[in-house]
Structures are given as C-alpha cells and as structure tokens.
Subunit: 533 residues, 2 copies
C-alpha cells in the first residue's frame, strides 16, 4: 500500500483508470485493494508454500480447524504429517450436538442428547461473518454448503425484567423509535440554530433533509404516530386486502421509556461488523466444516491421544501421550517440527521445553467463560405465534439471549432453540456451576418470561459449559490489551522447532477465522525456516 | 380489541396473567394479539367458508395468486369452479424466467433466455416479508420450501455518480458513519445543555449513554477513527492471525461528504418494515408458489383464454373469450358468480356491465411502471472479489439498483444478477421505451461503473418492461390517497354477481400478500352472500 500513500484522491483515480484501461477487471480490483479503496483482509489468498521441504516431518497437536488447516497445507507442500487428537472425533470446538450423541464434562456429568432427527445445537462456533475470507475460502475448496445465518432479526425481542413491566418489545419498535426520536431532537436543535459553528449552514440544510429521511420525520421534523412512521416501525394493524384492509398506525414508544428500559443497549448488535449481513452457517451443523477437513486429513489423525509432554532438541520434537482408552499407558510420537494448537488452558499444564518468553505467554492468557443451552420444543411457536424467523432476542435475564434456528423456516414440526448463551461475567460463572440438567431447567424458566409458550412446548435439552470442557477448559482466548502488548508476539514466534497456532494466536479470538489465519501464518513461517535451513 | 381499550397497563397485565394461568400459551398469545400487545395481521388465519353453497358455480378470471387462492378455497367449500387464464401458464406475475424460456411483449419483441441450467430471474415479485402471514401460510400448506432473501447487505454498495468522484461506497461505512456523526452532534449539544426543556435532566444523562453505545462514540462523545469505531464500520486492514495480525482502523467518512453525496437517501432501505429481516424467497424461483397452487387447482384452468366481454344478469355471469391459439374464434363460459382478478389496465378495456361506481373505480387506478433486467456472468465476482453475498447496491444511475442472488452462496460458477430494477419515474419510462437488447446493453454499461468486472464477465441477459406486458400492461396498482378515498370501496364491493380481487384491490399493492388477502376477503363476502341468498 505504501507506494501509493502520497497520492491525492485525483491521482489515485487517474491511476485506477489507467490500470482499468490496460488490464482486466481483476487487475483493477487488485489495485483497488492495494490502494486501500477496498478493505484489506487478514486472509491473503491461498497459502503458497514454495520450495522443497525435503522429507521434513511435522507433528500437529490438535485436530481443530487450526490443526487440520496446517495438516492439509503441509502435506500438500510435501511434508510428512501426523496429528494427535484428544477427542474421539475431529473438529475440536467445531462441534455439533445431535440426537443420540453422548458427552461428558470434567465433573463427570454425562449427557445424552434426545433431539429428534435433523435437529442440532452448535455448542461452540456457529456463524461465519462475510469478511472471514479464509474460512469461506476453505468452505468453498472443501465443498461445505452454506446457508444464511440470521443474526439480525428486526422482529425478535428486546427484553428487560425492569423496563416495560417485563414485557418483551419488538426490536424494530425500539430501533426505529430510538432513531426517530434522536433524529427529531437533532433536527429541532438544528432548526433553532444551536449547531452554529459545528456544522456549516449549507450542511445544516442537507442534515435536516437527511434526518427527515433517515428518522422517518414528518414535514415539521417530528417523529409521530402515523402511517409514515408505520412504514418503518410497523403498524398496530397491518394493511390488508379488500374491505377490511385499512391499516392502523403503530404508536411510537416514548424516548423516555426507551431510555429508562435500557433496551437501547442491545441495538449495537445490529451494527457490529462481526454481526452484519450477510452471515453464514453450514447446512446441517457447524461441524460440517470439521468433517470436510477430516475428509482430507482424517487419515493422519490419531484419536484419544492425551498429550502429557512436549520435548524438543536441535534435532526434533518428541511428544508423549496417553491413549485415553488405555489409561496409564504412554506412547510417543516424533517429528522434525511441531505445530501445537492445544488451548493454552491445557498447554500451560503440560511439560514443554520452550523458552521463557513463550512459556510466559502460554501462561498469560485467560480463557473466556461461556455456556450454551439447546432446547427442543414440540413446535416452532416462535415462528407460528410470534413471526420470529431466525435471529436473536436479547434479555437482561441470566440466559442473555435466545437464538432461533436459521433452518427449516416456515415448516411445521419441532425445533431447537439456543435457549441460553452467556459470555463471561457472573451469569456465565453461575451457569457453569450448575449441573447440566439444572442449566436446562433454568433456561426454560427464564425463557418462559419471554416466550410463555415454553411451558407447554418444551421437550428436552442439553447444555455445555466451556470451562467444564475436558478438551479446552474454557471457551476461547480472552486477551487484554496489556497481555497482547507483552505476550502476543512471544506466543506466535517460532520457538526452536515448535510453533503455536489456534484462535488464541490471533486477533480474532473465539472465531474459526482466527484459528485458520493463525495456522496459515504459523505454517508459512515454519516452512520458510525449513526451506531456508 | 375495543373491549379492553379502557384498561390501564396494570389491569392489562393482570388480565394477561389470569389468562396465562387458566389457559395455555396459545390462548395467552391470542389475548395478547387482541389487546394490541402484538400487532394485528391483515391475514386472519385460514379462511372459514361455512355453510353449503348448494352447488353454486364460480367463474374465476385469471390464474394469478388471487385467482388460484379463490379457486382453492371455493372448490374446497363446495363450489363448482372454473378458471380462465390468458397465458399458457399459471401464476400471472408470479413468474420466473429460466434458460430456454421464450416470451413476447406487446411490441412483438420476443426474447429467448440463454441462462445456464439452475439460474433464473424473477421479473415480477421476488421476495416475501416475514409479516406477509397469508402468503407464508399458503407456502406452508402447499409445501413451498423457503430460503432467506437477503434484502439488507451491509457490504453492498451505495453509489452516486456525483458523490465521492463516482466511487461506490460500502453501505456499512455510510450507515455507521452517518449514525456516528449524528450521535456525536446530538451528544455534544446535550452536553452543552442545549436540549433544556425538550428532555429532562435525568433523561439527558441516559441519552448520552445511549448515544455513546449506539453511535460508537468514545469517552468524549466523539466519533473518530479508532479500533472501537472499526468494530462497527469495519477496518482498513482486518484483524488476522499470527505475526501479521494487527488490525488497522478504518477512517470514518466526513459528515459533510456523506451529506453532499446524497447517499444517505438510500439508508431508509435498511429500516423499512417491508424490507426488514427476515425476508424469504422460494427455493428455485418465485414461480414455485404459483406452481404449488397450480398443483392443486391446475385442473380447473383453461389456458390461452383472452376475455373479451363480461356480462351479468340476475341469474349469473357469462364471459366471452377468445382462444389465443385460434384467433378470431370466440367461446363462452358461464357461472352463478364471477371472481375477476384481471388487472385494471386490461379490465378497463373489456366490456363489463357493472354499476357506475365500480366502473369508475376500474378506470381510476394507474399502474406502476417497472423494468427488470437479468444478467448472466461467467463468475460470481461480486462474491469472489467484492465480498457481497446477496442484498442490493443502490445507485443514482438509471438502473437504480443491482441485486445479488440469495442462492448458491460461496460457490464457484456462473451467476445471474438483477442488473436493473426501476420503479416509476423517467428511468422506468426510458427503459420501457428501449428494445429488450438495448435494455440489457444499457444495464451492463451502467453497472460497470459500479462493478468494473462487468465488462469481462458478462455473458447474456433478458429484460422485462411491465408496461409492455401483454397480460398486465403495467406492473401493479399505483393508488393515490385521493383515488383510494373515492374509489377503493367501490372497487372491492360486490357488484351484482361479480367481485374483483387482486393486489389492486388491497392496501398492499404490488405484493403477493395483497393479492391473497384481497382474494380471501372477496370470497368470504361472496360466500356470505351465496349462503344468505
């Protein structure tokens, strides 16, 4: 980018038009990207591992997305690759729970999922932002079919146990009315000349027009009950057909009520880059991604392998592990190099001879606490009764949110809701401390304050508290700015013959993209060292 | 609703809790709806045509959604039903154009669509709002599989040939930055005490907090280039993984530039009730709906029947029509009653003996002008290069908008864009006046200002100008408030043995829901008359 950074806007455009004339549109787009006219992705396109590794071997610890990305690319580049995996399945946190599945937490509590055929919950990652190009590229390459994940749903609820007498409000009402009131307030101070100095006279005229349009204001710059505002917020009675068709306008909620309810606090979920349209999920469950990777590299994986020691010297790396199906026995695997994707919560408890800086980094990163509860209901009442098709309702109750499935829209039959999704904080710790059954019961109790239908329609549920997960002991790396400054580079740098990878070694923690980009960066540096060596 | 309208909020809640305790959640929801706590739909649930029509017969004119809804319900209620249809296919404007299809406009211009297998364009209706309950209910009943229609896409473009040197802007940038600037302006006048009187002191404190959250403001209530604002608007360089991961914040666009560009004018598309998430489309093309209806009532349809005269007396209705495959010949069909769904543009040219009020109404409604152009490209560059997955880019060029397919996301291969979609105004008239081929060429020329890849990737296209459509002579009823006041009831009332139905006889013109609700209202009244008679 730097070679262009001194150019003026005009020169940039001239240059672009020259490029456009002499080359195809792909070159034009490449130029736009490199000039900052399009934003730059953390993914730099298919990784290029050029040069012969001359038979070098790599031992990969963990068959999550980071580990399998590394395995896929390194084998293709000519390495001998082996993967050790703690679980009996590939994917790590890329995991889907379906009817018939059994799973056990560190407290020994085993759950058996009783969902009907075709229903599932993703206890870990579950959605893909459109700008997670690395993950999308692997989905395309590995044939993972995607469908939209509805993150944003205007007709879902905002709920506060304190505001509006505990009655859930439609997101569209709060969102539209807040925007309308803000527009009215700003338009009126603008009209009264109170913006003098901050905005030019000419801009003030345009600002008034823009606020009128954006805030659904009337010709007096007021935000009022009317058919006009109803075209944005919705009606009390929707327009219909024939002789019973006349619509009745909806009544905006007072600004004061919105402010005191605190419901405005959830509106940012409609604006966040990570949640913006269009988001995706794989058809059939998030683990379709892990399974697609495993189709390529599954032959390299040794399952049920619990790593107990990682030792390196100037010749190679030797990893000691226990076959969890034969407790007490130990085995070893060796290679020239090691890509370690074990979560830091676990890795910090394993003997590993890396330098002090990496060791300090391994111990420096706390892990986020997160709990999810999946609930099966006899019918999809959120669609049938409430016209909520996908998306998320937000609440100040400990369950934090209810997410509706982005599948089987408008179909009859049963459905599974995400009935609780906490992230850090007291709610998460409290839910973590409960038994799996209690979490489900509490999710049903709380949720029925938002959807009274819960009581009649609930059938069964499962829950997962990531701090009780044997293979992660937490949900994801939860970096502070201070920890990043001190430890991030030390965590990522190659230490002798070992390099770490995973979402924790990225600036996109907790996202699958972080795992993949971290892995691509790690193996690129590793390969450079191998080829140079 | 009226019986409750005098109750206070508290009494309402008490009542609700009583209902909740003594009845199930469905009763609770019914009560909520009837009390205005949930908005009321124009669709009142499955139509109930109780009472024996005693062998009465109904002749339905037109096999669009209004006509087929009437046929389905009336036959089920015991009527003898026959449908006359002008086209050689069912569905009317519910129509999808695919490779191999041929179609001819009133000027005699015939196009043959050359799209590849699996690709299509919907020249008429194409999307279903979540609150169009009537249509959704029929989709469920008739087994039409739906998928999300991405109307809102934060990463699509806003384009003005005048603003930003003609360079397309990401919607998320304009949207986030405008909201941020507005929040900053209002927060600063609030801080300076300039809202005195309009907002209480206590509310002002909360307003400041809300604006900070909603507008991504910093602790000084400023909207600035930062990693914080980038979490909403996006980055110059996205966060990544490993040692090349540090994000670079995006630089907000100045308010003045946003205002003068006029691009704010398109932001309302993100707020409209009709466009809000979650929208739907049938898997495979919009005509899957018409085809699902025709599977039920196709046996009742006489195709290629051009109605030339509608005559009624106190015994029944007789319709004269020409078989368009045997020009010059005439035939007749008779029944006790007639449901006429012929568009008013056509009906106003047909001899029909209804009273003066209905005749005046038939002649009073102008029809909207609309043109769509479908363009096939060699590859899905909007996804591959621009990360635009579905949704709409808006422009001030005559094509008005470019809509990206909501299907086959992230897949390799060809794709079809909606390369032009005009609605009334000079652009629509100009495009209508062109030959089909010229429309396609112009759509490619204009579109390449937004997507330079057009030039290399374009393969073929089709276009449809609704004012040149032989079966509608326009796109949809385009009521003014004045015309509604004078003519709407007269259009909808039963005249002797004839009742009109269709989107034009609704308050939701141009939407499929309008056609269905109009039809349900019309046949309900017709049935009441028959049973009473």
């Amino acid at each position: 980018m730097q070679q262009y950074s001194q150019l003026t806007g005009l020169s940039r455009r001239k240059l672009l038009s020259l490029i456009g004339m002499t080359a195809g549109s792909a070159a034009m787009y490449q130029a736009m990207t490199s000039m900052g006219l399009a934003s730059e992705s953390g993914y730099k396109g298919p990784v290029k591992l050029e040069g012969d590794p001359k038979g070098a071997s790599v031992l990969i610890l963990g068959s999550g997305l980071a580990g399998m990305t590394a395995a896929l690319e390194l084998r293709q580049a000519g390495y001998k690759v082996q993967i050790l995996e703690y679980n009996a399945r590939p994917g790590g946190r890329n995991w889907t729970i379906r009817g018939g599945d059994s799973f056990t937490d560190i407290a020994g509590a085993t759950q058996k999922c009783e969902f009907d055929e075709g229903l599932y919950v993703n206890p870990g990652p579950w959605r893909i932002p459109y700008h997670h190009n690395g993950l999308l590229a692997y989905c395309k390459r590995l044939g993972v079919t995607l469908q939209p994940f509805q993150q944003i749903n205007h007709n879902a609820f905002l709920h506060s146990s304190k505001g509006f007498g505990g009655k859930p409000q439609r997101i569209r009402d709060i969102k539209t009315d807040f925007q309308g009131h803000v527009s009215e307030l700003l338009a009126k101070v603008t009209q009264k000349g109170k913006l003098e100095g901050d905005v030019t006279k000419e801009d003030q005229e345009m600002l008034l027009e823009a606020l009128k349009s954006w805030g659904a204001l009337d010709s007096d710059y007021s935000y009022k009950q009317s058919l006009h505002t109803s075209e944005y917020r919705g009606y009390e009675k929707d327009p219909g057909g024939g002789l019973t068709a006349v619509p009745v306008p909806g009544k905006p909620i007072d600004l004061s009520d919105i402010l005191s309810s605190g419901l405005w606090g959830s509106l940012e979920n409609f604006a966040l880059y990570e949640f913006q349209t269009t988001m995706f999920q794989p058809v059939g469950g998030i683990d379709m991604i892990g399974k697609a990777f495993a189709k390529e590299v599954g032959d390299l994986i040794t399952y049920n392998a619990k790593v107990t020691k990682i030792a390196q010297d100037d010749k190679g790396v030797t990893v000691t592990y226990e076959d969890t199906q034969k407790p007490g026995t130990t085995q070893q695997a060796s290679a020239d190099w090691c890509v370690c994707t074990i979560p830091l919560t676990i890795l910090s408890q394993i003997e590993i001879n890396v330098g002090a800086p990496m060791q300090a980094a391994i111990e420096a990163v706390p892990y986020a606490s997160s709990v999810k509860v999946g609930l099966q209901f006899k019918r999809r009442f959120w669609e049938e009764d409430d016209l909520i098709f996908g998306g998320v309702s937000y609440t100040d109750l400990p369950i934090t949110q209810i997410s509706y499935p982005s599948t089987d829209f408008n179909k009859a039959g049963k459905g599974v809701l995400l009935g609780c999704y906490t992230w850090n904080g007291p709610n998460s710790y409290e839910f973590t401390s409960m038994s799996p059954e209690e979490r489900v019961q509490r999710a049903v109790d709380y949720g029925s304050q938002i959807h009274p239908q819960y009581k009649d329609e609930f059938e069964n549920g499962v829950s997962w508290a990531w701090h009780r997960s044997p293979f992660t002991l937490g949900c994801a790396g939860d970096w502070t700015d201070e920890a990043r400054k001190e430890h991030y580079e030390n965590l990522c740098k190659i230490d002798g013959r070992i390099v770490l990878a995973g979402e924790h070694a990225s600036y996109i923690p907790a996202w699958m993209e972080g795992a993949i980009l971290s892995s691509l960066d790690a193996i690129t540096r590793l390969h450079q060292r191998v080829v140079a060596g």
